[in-house]
Every structure is written in structure tokens, then in C-alpha cells.
């Protein structure tokens, strides 16, 4: 456990001493701040539903950037073999990189919670949907990072890893639109693979445990396959 804590500390430090974290954070806050204030000033509505959907789309775009370097960068710098010869397991390596990336996502959400505080300061927002929206975004981020770490474990190049992650995210973003083309019960199966279908209820204050389970499964499966991909090498 001490080795894992040391590894997690190293990964977190590596992430927060790189420019990626700060560029992503700054861009995220600038875009979301503009969007939040514009929506608030124009609609005067004490709700974050629109902000949640915009963060959802931003996550699809920024998570590949955050995760692309996790394992592909180690491979490019030829430090992966060195890391794997250390007294830590592949699972610990993957888990440390996963949790460090998740920490950045959590920090982004924590900073964006200022928007909710502002709504609370100036109005009377419905807190239920705000809380469920943030829980949904954290779960979505956890699932996306799982897939991103997996593609980073597969690819030898960061850009390839990011592009593969992005393609997968975009596919699972809109896959529910194609569900009606398939016969029953495959249409339901394909529709339920959609990220939008599982995230939308969270954003509007309607929480299903099956939606939470979907993102948890994504995260676990991504990490498991990333470990297998590392082990294969």
C-alpha cells in the first residue's frame, strides 16, 4: 500500500507539474465561466442544467488530452520497462495513473462548483439536480478516464491514443441515434451503450442506480483491459 501511495503521489506530481493540467484547467474555466455567466445574464434562470451538458461535451474533448500521456508517454520515453521492473504490479501502475487523472477531473468540477455557490448566493436554485449533476459528471469522468487509460496502454503514440479515445467517446455519444435502425432487443442494447442516455437523467435530477452502474462498469472495464494490455507487453 505504501508503494502504491508513493506511486500515486509521483503520478499526481507529474500531472500537476506538467503544463497539460493547467492548460486544460484554464481553458475549461474560461469556456465554462463565459457560458455560465452568459446563460445567467440572459435567462436569469437559477439552474445549471445547461452548464452540465456543456461540461459533458467538454469532458469528451478534454479527457483524451488528459489521459493520452498516461502510459503512451512512458512508452515513448522508454520509462515503461523501468517502471514495470519496480516492485509494483501492473494494476498498481494503472490505478495510480487513473486516480491521478481522476483527481484533475475532480478539481475541475470542484472549481466549477463556484457557479452553484453563486446561484445559491443570488437566488434559490433547486439543489437536488445540482448535486445529482455533479455526481453524474464525476461518474462520467471516471468512466471516460478508464477508457482513455486503456487506449493509452494500447497505443505507442500519444496523439494516436487521444484520437482513438476521442473517436470512441464521439461514437458512444451519438450511438443512441442509431438504435431505432435495429430490431428489438438490439435497439435497446445499442441505445443503452450511449453516454448521453446515461448522463441526461443525472443532469436533470433523476438518478437511476443503473446509470451509475454503467459508468462504474466503464471505469472498471477500462482499467482491467489497460492492465491486461500492459501485461501482454
Amino acid at each position: 500500500m505504501n508503494r502504491f501511495a508513493a506511486l500515486l503521489g509521483k503520478e499526481t506530481r507529474a500531472l500537476f507539474t506538467s503544463s497539460v493540467a493547467y492548460v486544460v484547467l484554464t481553458a475549461f474555466l474560461l469556456i465554462m465561466g463565459y457560458s455560465f455567466s452568459l446563460t445567467l445574464f440572459l435567462t436569469h434562470t437559477p439552474s445549471l442544467v445547461h452548464v452540465f451538458f456543456q461540461i459533458y461535451v467538454l469532458f469528451l474533448l478534454t479527457v483524451p488530452v488528459i489521459t493520452m500521456r498516461t502510459l503512451a508517454e512512458e512508452r515513448r520515453q522508454r520509462t515503461l520497462e523501468l517502471l514495470l521492473t519496480a516492485p509494483v504490479t501492473e494494476a498498481q501502475v494503472v490505478a495510480a495513473k487513473y486516480l491521478a487523472s481522476l483527481g484533475l477531473i475532480a478539481l475541475m468540477l470542484a472549481l466549477s462548483s463556484v457557479y452553484a455557490l453563486l446561484l445559491g448566493l443570488f437566488g434559490t436554485p433547486e439543489w437536488g439536480p445540482i448535486v445529482s449533476g455533479y455526481v453524474g459528471l464525476l461518474l462520467l469522468g471516471a468512466g471516460l478516464i478508464g477508457v482513455g487509460v486503456f487506449t493509452s496502454a494500447l497505443a505507442a503514440n500519444q496523439v494516436v491514443a487521444a484520437l482513438v479515445s476521442l473517436s470512441l467517446f464521439l461514437l458512444f455519444w451519438i450511438i443512441d441515434q442509431f438504435g431505432y435502425l435495429l430490431p428489438d432487443p438490439y435497439n435497446a442494447l445499442v441505445t443503452n451503450l450511449s453516454l448521453s442516455v446515461h448522463f441526461k437523467p443525472f443532469a436533470t435530477g433523476s438518478v437511476y442506480l443503473s446509470d451509475a452502474g454503467f459508468f462504474i462498469t466503464m471505469a472498471l472495464l477500462g482499467n482491467l483491459l489497460a492492465v491486461r494490455a500492459l501485461g501482454r507487453r
Binding site: 500500500m1 500537476f16 507539474t17 503544463s19 493547467y22 484547467l25 484554464t26 474555466l29 474560461l30 465554462m32 465561466g33 463565459y34 455560465f36 455567466s37 445567467l40 445574464f41 436569469h44 434562470t45 437559477p46 439552474s47 442544467v49 501492473e90 494494476a91 472549481l111 463556484v114 457557479y115 453563486l118 446561484l119 443570488f122 437566488g123 434559490t124 433547486e126 437536488g128 439536480p129 448535486v131 445529482s132 442494447l189 443503452n192 436533470t204 435530477g205 433523476s206 438518478v207 437511476y208 442506480l209 443503473s210 452502474g213 454503467f214 462504474i216 462498469t217 472498471l220 472495464l221 482499467n223 482491467l224 483491459l225 492492465v227 491486461r228 500492459l230 501485461g231 501482454r232
Partner: protein, 518 residues
């Protein structure tokens, strides 16, 4: 914790939660236990999958088949696990309309019940919304012994409906103190709250709106046309009447009128000049934004009305002529209204400094719990020491930076509203009169009534005048979409915070890290 211990703990947790779910049987509790078991089992399977060797000995084809098989098995297990979870799903309703929770208005009213209130709900068993309303009422009645609920399926007990004279589904009959209020065809429980307040009110009270002085507000009896529409939002419409929006002329009084009706106040227009005296049925007299001066006889009849314990609401904006008869009436109470419009560069709505915003209030029942109030055009009120037997309480004031239009050098806070009570100077009796005077009338109109706490201020003032102290915290319906109103300064502060301070602090942290690394 070793790997084997972790796996054992996960197994024990999965087994224990599954057993607990099985013992609980069906329902949300059991499904939550199953969800915990599901999470633990999934984590255990992942941990066990890690034990499978990454490389197996044998021909290349076999090694690849084993690898593909493991991935296919993992994906298959994940899919099946999600199907199983989907079949034992649990839903938490965090929606804004809280379908299974009584609205705040009803909870507040019920919590403050002083005597027994009997509710009889003739619900439609085929209407989901009616079932929901009935369940929410049952929860409330269980917590408040003074609320006696009788829910009747109208189709099964038509005799009971005949006995009550009920002819429509989802009708609620409220009975208390020998009084009875009936609300037809509703599943909106806020209407029940207002019905209880109406039933609690002893004797009907009528607000008489003075007309005949070119009052610009299209008040009751005016020519204004308003209708209810519905605003489509991302939030679903859970109940009939919920989300209804009044569309009417911006200066009209339709929203105020509907809010007063919800609290059980009647209304009538009153042409004061044609009356010898203020009619006895007028519990409250309201003069809102006159454009022509009062006649001396009108001022005399109002003075007599107040001397006999009358209640008067005066909303006089900068365009209202406050000449001798009316000015003399106010001078009796040592009140005067200097001409001019207040400009407040510090607290105002949006970017318009003439739309004065008031964020803080001295303590008074009218302003208790109010947030921001906005006055689109307001004149100051001058207070002098009141005569004996009269209490004058300022309700609100502009900021220290405010000034009268055209005189920016004379800055200072100016009272914008006062509440007066006591015995009218020179009156024969000891009856208590009440008067509320505002230096603005626009905040009562359709356009500004829903803005933050304007509606609550208007209804609060009228309820205080009426001596209505039942559940004073209940806010009136505004028949509008809930909104946040920001002053210009607040908008700048919000923008600066989210677009300057937040990203700037991240950049600062980046700079500090970079400098430290160098």
C-alpha cells in the same frame, strides 16, 4: 491489506449485501442492497481477472485466442451485469417539482396550523398525478395531527361526493372553524396551501383599488387583457396549473390580483370621487400610481376612513401628483413626498441606475425574509417626527451613494417605503389605522411583480394591512418562471469572478509551480 484479504472482503461484502437484499424482499431497500452487492461482486471479478496470467505458454494462435477470450469474457460480464442492474433499478426523485414531496408552501402552512383542519380529497384513481398528490397529503397528515385527511375515490363513493356537492374529479374540500373552501380539479398542492389560508381567514376581506385618477396600471376593472399560458422548460410539467404563466400588459396588476386571490382577498375597483365615503366592505384601500390629483372630498373621505381604523396602501411614483389634498393627508402623519426620481449607482437592477434595488431591510413583519426588491422608478419619502399615538417604521431605503436625478452632489440614503400604524390624529375613537406608503408603483405591475421578492413585498404589505398573521412566511404565487435578478454591480462581480479570478488563480498556480521547478 493483502490482495487475498481484499478479495475476501469484497466477496464477503457482496454476499452480505445480496443476503440482506434477499431478506428485505422487494422494494427500493432491497434493490439498494443488491446494488452494493453488484458493485462488490464486479470489483471482485475484476480482481480475480487480474490473477489470470498475461501470457500463457503455447502456440501463438492459442495465446491470441486466450487473450481475445479474456477480453470477450470481461465485456460479456460487464454487459450482463448492467442488464441485471437494469432489472433491479432504483430511482431517486431529485426533480425540481418533487412529485412525492408536498410543496414548501403547504408544508409551511401545515406546520403552523393553529386548529384542526379537515381535508377531503375526491381523487381520480386513474390519474397518476392525483395518486401522487394523495400520497403527499397522507405523508403530511401523518406528521401533523391537526390535519385530518380523508381521501375518497370519487368513482367508488359517489354518495360522499353528492353529500359534499362535489362534481369534479380531484376536488379538495378544506374545512376549519365552520368555514369551507373548495378547490376543483387540482393536483397542485400549493393550491391546497392557499385554500387552507383562505379557510382560516375569518370573514372575507376586500381590497378596493382606487380608480378615476388616470391610474396607469390596468387594475381590476381596467381594460387590461391577461391570460394564462405555459412556459415550456427542461423541467416537465408534473401537475395541471404548475408552470402557468400570466401574460398581460407590463404595467397591469394581473399578477398581484391573482396572488391576492390565492390568499383569499377579494377585490373591487372603486371610483372614490363618486362615493360619499369609503364603502364599509373595503378592508383595504389601495391607490396605485395616480396620474391626476385627488379632489379635496376624496382626501376627506379617506381621512375619515383611516380615522375609523381603515387600512390604506399608497404607491406613488415620481409621476404621481402629490398636491394639496393628498399631501395634506400625508402631512397629518408628518410624511411628505419630495418631487424627483432616485438614482442609485450602487444598488440597481441590471445596468439601469434608475431601477433601484434594495438588498437589506430594517426588521418589520412586511420585509421579514425578503431577498432583493427592485423599484423601476421611485421617489423618496421624507419622514419627520410623527404625531403622538402614531408609529412610523421605515421599510426600505436606497444606498448611501444614491441621489435625486439632476442633483448628483447631494448623496445619501433615502427612505423608499414606510409602514405607519396608530390612532389617526384627531379621530374620535381609538381604532387603529394602518398605512403603507411606497415611493414607487411600478414594482406592483406585471413586469416587476415576479422579480425576486417584489411579489412577496406587495402581498406582505397587504397582509400586514389586513392584520393577517397566519403563516407570514408563505410566498405568493407569481405565475412566472423563477428568475435571478442581478444588479449591474453583481453582474460585473460574477463575470470577474468566473472569467478572471478563477482562471487567473489556476494560471498563478502554474506560474508558481514553474518558478519552483526552475
Amino acid at each position: 491489506m493483502t490482495r487475498a484479504r481484499l478479495e475476501a472482503a469484497l466477496g464477503a461484502l457482496a454476499l452480505g449485501a445480496a443476503l440482506a437484499g434477499a431478506v428485505m424482499g422487494a422494494g427500493d431497500g432491497a434493490n439498494i442492497a443488491f446494488f452494493i452487492a453488484w458493485c462488490a461482486a464486479l470489483a471482485l471479478l475484476a480482481a480475480l481477472a487480474l490473477r489470470v496470467p498475461g501470457q500463457i505458454a503455447g502456440p501463438t494462435l492459442l495465446r491470441r485466442a486466450a487473450g481475445v477470450g479474456l477480453v470477450a469474457a470481461a465485456v460479456g460480464v460487464a454487459l450482463l451485469a448492467n442488464v441485471a442492474l437494469y432489472r433491479h433499478d432504483v430511482h431517486f426523485d431529485l426533480t425540481p417539482n418533487r412529485r412525492f414531496t408536498a410543496p414548501e408552501e403547504l408544508r409551511t402552512v401545515v406546520a403552523q396550523l393553529g386548529g384542526e383542519v379537515r381535508l377531503t380529497y375526491f381523487y381520480n384513481a386513474g390519474d397518476d398525478a392525483a395518486w401522487t398528490a394523495k400520497d403527499a397529503l397522507a405523508v403530511l397528515a401523518r406528521a401533523q395531527p391537526r390535519l385530518v385527511l380523508r381521501a375518497i375515490d370519487l368513482d367508488k363513493e359517489p354518495g360522499a361526493a353528492r353529500e359534499f356537492g362535489v362534481r369534479a374529479y380531484n376536488t379538495i374540500v378544506v374545512e376549519t372553524g365552520g368555514r369551507r373552501v373548495q378547490v376543483d380539479n387540482t393536483v397542485d398542492l400549493r393550491q391546497v396551501a392557499y385554500a387552507i389560508l383562505r379557510a382560516q381567514r375569518e370573514g372575507g376581506q376586500t381590497v378596493c383599488f382606487v380608480t378615476g385618477h388616470g391610474e396607469p396600471l390596468e387594475g381590476p376593472g381596467g381594460t387590461g387583457h391577461a391570460h394564462l399560458s405555459h412556459e415550456e422548460t427542461l423541467q416537465s410539467r408534473a401537475a395541471p396549473g404548475e408552470g402557468d404563466v400570466v401574460e398581460g400588459p407590463p404595467a397591469g396588476l394581473d399578477r398581484l390580483r391573482l396572488a391576492l386571490a390565492a390568499f383569499g382577498f377579494g377585490y373591487r375597483p372603486l371610483t372614490l370621487a363618486t362615493e360619499a365615503a369609503v364603502p364599509a366592505e373595503c378592508s383595504i384601500l389601495a391607490e396605485i400610481g395616480p396620474r391626476a390629483p385627488w379632489a379635496p372630498a376624496e382626501a376627506s373621505s379617506v381621512a375619515a376612513y383611516l380615522g375609523a381604523g381603515g387600512r390604506l396602501l399608497l404607491a406613488l411614483d415620481p409621476a404621481s401628483p402629490v398636491t394639496e389634498p393628498l399631501a395634506g393627508l400625508l402631512a397629518t402623519l408628518a410624511l411628505s413626498l419630495p418631487p424627483g426620481q432616485v438614482i442609485d449607482p450602487l444598488n440597481h437592477y441590471g445596468t439601469a441606475a434608475e431601477k433601484v434595488a434594495v438588498p437589506y431591510y430594517p426588521p418589520h413583519p412586511i420585509t421579514d425574509g425578503l431577498a432583493l426588491t427592485i423599484f423601476p422608478a421611485v421617489r423618496p419619502i421624507h419622514l419627520a417626527p410623527p404625531p403622538g399615538g402614531v408609529e412610523v417604521a421605515p421599510l426600505m431605503a436606497s444606498s448611501q451613494d444614491s441621489f435625486l436625478q439632476g442633483a448628483p452632489e447631494a448623496k445619501g440614503a433615502m427612505p423608499l417605503g414606510v409602514a405607519v400604524r396608530g390612532v389617526w390624529p384627531g379621530a374620535a375613537g381609538e381604532a387603529e389605522f394602518r398605512l403603507v406608503l411606497f415611493g414607487s408603483s411600478g414594482f406592483l405591475g406585471n413586469e416587476y411583480f415576479p422579480a425576486v421578492s417584489n411579489g412577496a413585498l406587495a402581498v406582505g404589505a397587504l397582509r400586514w394591512l389586513a392584520g393577517d398573521a397566519a403563516a407570514p412566511g408563505v410566498r405568493p404565487p407569481t405565475y412566472s418562471v423563477p428568475e435571478i435578478a442581478l444588479t449591474g454591480g453583481e453582474m460585473r462581480a460574477v463575470f470577474l469572478l468566473v472569467e478572471g479570478v478563477l482562471p487567473g488563480s489556476v494560471l498563478l498556480a502554474w506560474f508558481l509551480v514553474w518558478r519552483r521547478r526552475r
